[in-house]
Symmetry: C2
Subunit: 129 residues, 2 copies
DNA sequence: AAGATAATGATAACTGTTATCATTACATCC
DNA sequence: GGATGTAATGATAACAGTTATCATTATCTT
């Protein structure tokens, strides 16, 4: 049985309280900043426990995993490679086309990840200027 | 100026000669098996040099990068989480819907990566049996 | 309160990858 | 064809993110 300890509660609260996409280090830092005492290993364990309980979601980026609060509608991510900004978007048609493509190959889909890279509006303007 | 040394030539030949998706370690192992002498650092450098010259392509998976031969039409990947099999697929409509979605957010797209996870036909049958 | 189970925290270990640096191969110009 | 500059090599150290270890502590039953 999983236990919802005070450390995990703190992680969950932190993530629930924002729209950010947190990595493990940021979570640890933020909690320590609020005066809490939590080890980095506990953060990692807490994050994956919370995810497996469905209490938070994650995206796996090239270098690290980032966590966000759960309960949002399914969405994918668009990442600005200049400033790191992460935008969310969803597109039902894309989703169902994916399903169809998988089926055609005989794949039983369990998940997918679509990440788009580019320059956000702000960075595009700055680069043009 | 980049040089196409014998080591890089060997890497390129290896990758060109198959449809596999190779990670750095597999490349090193395969070359050493053929009697070649190549250091792992050289493999890493060779792979990224070849990629930046457009001679090979790559996909970034959660844990590692995998390389495949270039010159194929653009495609995305479907990975069987049971046996590791990687299937390729492409879908023009999905591509253009992605473009449209990016534009709506003001993003100037430079790339994307769509990876789908699931069970391939063979593994699905085995699991059902 | 006792006993069982799970979480914690410090740290070692591990994986994939990049950096360092002395040595070697390559190309080019005279 | 030998000197010279440039880039690649290979062994290994270093690095980032993450997981494993293990003794200690907290938590949940009953």
């Amino acid at each position: 049985m999983q236990k919802l300890t005070s450390q995990r509660q703190a992680i969950l609260n932190l993530i629930n309280a924002s729209n950010r996409h947190w990595d493990a280090d940021e979570v640890a830092r933020a909690l320590v900043d609020t005066g809490a005492s939590i080890g980095i290993a506990t953060v990692y364990r807490g994050l994956s426990a919370l995810e497996s309980q469905g209490l938070i979601d994650s995206i796996q980026l090239a270098d690290k995993k980032r966590y966000e609060r759960a309960g949002k509608a399914h969405h994918d991510h668009m990442i600005c490679t200049s400033c790191g900004r992460i935008e969310e978007f969803s597109h039902d048609t894309i989703e169902s086309l994916q399903e169809a493509a998988a089926e055609k190959k005989g794949f039983k889909l369990t998940g997918h990840q679509l990440v788009m890279f580019g320059f956000c509006r702000k960075c595009t303007q700055e680069l043009d200027a």
